[in-house]
């Protein structure tokens, strides 16, 4: 059901055609200088990084239960049923909590703009809806990046791991990380050697805060009854005093 991008590091030749196609899709300038930048930034929403003899692609992981979506207080980030996590720049107030919270450090900001936006890959949402592959998958000359249905791509990844066990580190990055993602990586070496976080839990991060947030109405109503009750008890003496017309204590308020 969910659309997914599968990037196979062993097939990547580092030509950066995906970077160029991505820049074109976002109408961003792309030249040798931008190509040489290793990090994601407001003008580079996907990047090919080099670690020794190996390449790794960085882009939004499109989590099944995205942390960025859960922390956004105005709902500017949304998970679509098609798979991509999309951003509505007209809602965003620029609090940058999504950038702080993203376990993959993907959302970037237009720091030099007077009216900045958050920027991130949206898996070419418009193209996917039209039934086309993502721009990066279409541009990739070797098939290192392909896009398609998640279950199908997981089966394809497993087939590759089984066919050439010696050529692959026997895991799919994104299968279980923070509850699963819609961007999957294959590699010849352990993923932490490619600068990816290997210490991520397999439970979605939003559960950590929702566990507490979902109790808010209970806490509030219990506190209201408790505080109201205490008020009623502690002010009883004054009521009694007032009823007896005692001169000792007139109402203090």
């Amino acid at each position: 059901m969910s659309q997914t991008i599968l990037y196979d590091s062993t097939m990547c030749i580092g030509c950066k055609a995906c970077e160029g196609a991505c820049a074109e899709r976002w109408h961003l300038p792309y030249d040798d200088k931008v190509a040489a930048e290793p990090r994601l930034s407001a003008h580079k929403l996907t990047a090919i990084q080099t670690y020794g003899d190996h390449y790794i692609r960085r882009l939004c992981m499109h989590c099944a239960e995205p942390t960025c979506v859960s922390v956004c207080l105005v709902g500017a980030l949304q998970k679509t049923t098609l798979g991509p996590v999309v951003y509505d720049e007209d809602k965003c107030i620029g609090c940058r909590y999504c950038m702080l919270a993203c376990p993959f450090q993907v959302p970037v900001y237009e720091w030099s703009s007077r009216l900045p936006r958050v920027r991130k890959c949206d898996m070419c949402y418009a193209r996917l809806r039209a039934g086309k592959p993502t721009a990066c998958a279409e541009a990739c000359p070797t098939g290192a990046t392909i896009s398609g249905d998640r279950d199908g791509l997981i089966a394809e990844a497993r087939r590759r791991l089984a066919e050439k066990p010696g050529a692959y580190y026997q895991r799919i990055y994104g299968l279980e990380e923070v509850g699963g993602t819609c961007t999957l990586f294959l590699s010849a070496v352990p993923f932490e050697q490619l600068g990816l976080r290997a210490n991520l839990p397999s439970t979605p991060l939003p559960q950590l805060t929702w566990r507490i947030l979902s109790h808010t109405p209970h806490i509030a109503s219990l506190a209201a009854v408790a505080l109201g009750g205490i008020y009623w008890i502690t002010h009883r003496r004054e009521e009694v005093a007032a009823a007896e017309g005692s001169p000792r204590r007139r109402s203090d308020n």
């Binding site: 859960s70 620029g94 376990p103």
Partner: protein, 391 residues
């Protein structure tokens, strides 16, 4: 009232005050004309800095005295704390107002600050904080309205405001409990990023308890300042009681922090010679020292010493909030963040303006000089020591 000419009197403090304000204005100019990139040292890998950590996360905590004293006086009916109630409420209102102002400076699109009111992201902790703070600002305004009514002699309005005071106060306590703890919950979503000396599932509880400490300390500091700068009467027996409460709450907090570290097996981290260890030690000692001192009667009953202890608690509290928002996140971000001059100058000028506005309101409104409790009433409550509301 003082003669108008006094306004133009030049003193060293006024020169410093104006200098800070001017540097703050320069910082604001850079921020609004050239953008956040030019005005801050923030980056894609370090998106939250001093403005969030100090002005917002610590600033809200510093205003916690408002709900603590309001609960003590109104809900727990400990009337002997009445004389400091308005001082506490005023520090809270100013703290929260400047927090809101700082947020406007910090967010990328300030003119959309109202968006959370109509666009709901109810899964976000920040959404809960935003709503609680908006509502609580209104509660604080209602709680302080009597001072304004008394000042201008609006008797009818005064009676109306007092008639609804009980539910308003209770609503304020609930809101405060929720958002003070939620400020800690903000960081629960960073289990693999926040350094384990600070990351704990108990963050919301610790944020709530430490906010009470900071709030009580702010009340002590504000009372002392009012006494020194404006010659207002110092309610020493009341402040002594606050010092007692502060010592107890600090003890509960520090014991809780220790048990949590032990339970998570994080105590051995303290043996590592890292920046995190030293800044953690700074934070804890700034809270531990005043706790021990406040158990001594000769410290609590001496205004200057009490003030020094309260100041230490504030510094320790701010160190804690900055450790959670900055120190604890540096290692995982792979960057080193030091605030830019403009971040510091804007922050300092907000603090300075806060002090100036406190002075203005304390001078021109019945904040310190509210009608005192009747002698008989005071006697009736003389036996009640620690305000139960803060335990």
């Amino acid at each position: 009232m003082r003669p108008t000419l006094d306004f133009f009197r030049i003193s060293i403090w006024r020169v410093i005050f104006v200098a800070i304000l001017l540097s703050g204005l320069a910082g604001l100019y850079v921020r609004f004309v050239y953008g956040l990139g030019a005005a801050t040292n923030l980056s894609d890998s370090f998106p939250w800095g001093l403005w969030k950590g100090f002005n917002v996360v610590a600033g809200i905590g510093l205003g916690a005295g408002g709900f603590t004293v309001a609960a003590t006086v109104h809900v727990f009916n400990l009337k002997r704390y009445r004389p400091i109630l308005r001082i506490a409420l005023l520090t809270a209102l100013l703290g929260y107002s400047f927090m809101a102002l700082a947020l406007i400076v910090d967010i990328g699109r300030p003119y959309r600050i109202w968006h959370p009111v109509v666009m709901w992201g109810e899964h976000s902790v920040l959404f809960e904080v935003a709503w609680c703070v908006i509502l609580y600002l209104n509660v604080l305004a209602l709680e302080l309205a009597p001072a304004v009514c008394e000042r201008f002699g609006w008797r009818k309005l005064l009676r109306a405001v007092k008639a609804i005071s009980a539910p308003v106060v209770i609503f304020g306590v609930i809101l405060s409990t929720l958002h003070q703890s939620s400020l800690g919950s903000l960081f629960l979503i960073l289990p693999e990023k926040l350094y384990p000396l600070w990351y704990t599932p108990l963050l919301p509880v610790f944020f709530f308890v430490s906010a009470i400490c900071a709030g009580l300390s702010m009340v002590i500091i504000a009372s002392w300042q009012g006494n020194r700068a404006l010659g207002k009467q110092l309610e020493l027996p009341v402040l002594e009681g606050l010092g007692r409460a502060l010592a107890v709450v600090l003890a509960i907090y520090l014991l809780g922090r220790y048990l949590d570290l032990e339970d998570r097996g994080a105590l051995t981290l303290l043996l590592r010679n890292r920046m995190e260890t030293w800044l953690f030690a700074l934070e804890i000692s700034l809270l531990l020292a005043p706790m021990l001192l406040l158990f001594l009667h000769r410290v609590r009953s001496h205004p200057g010493r009490l003030y020094a202890c309260a100041l230490m608690v504030i510094l320790g509290f701010v160190a804690n909030r900055l450790n959670v928002t900055v120190t604890g996140l540096e290692a995982s971000s792979g960057t080193h963040y030091v605030p830019k001059w403009s971040e510091v100058s804007v922050t300092l000028s907000m603090v300075a303006l806060g002090f100036a506005l406190f002075r203005f309101f304390a001078q021109h409104f019945p904040i310190f000089d509210e009608r005192r409790p009747q002698p008989a009433a005071r006697e009736a409550h003389a036996e009640q020591g620690v305000p139960a509301g803060v335990g």
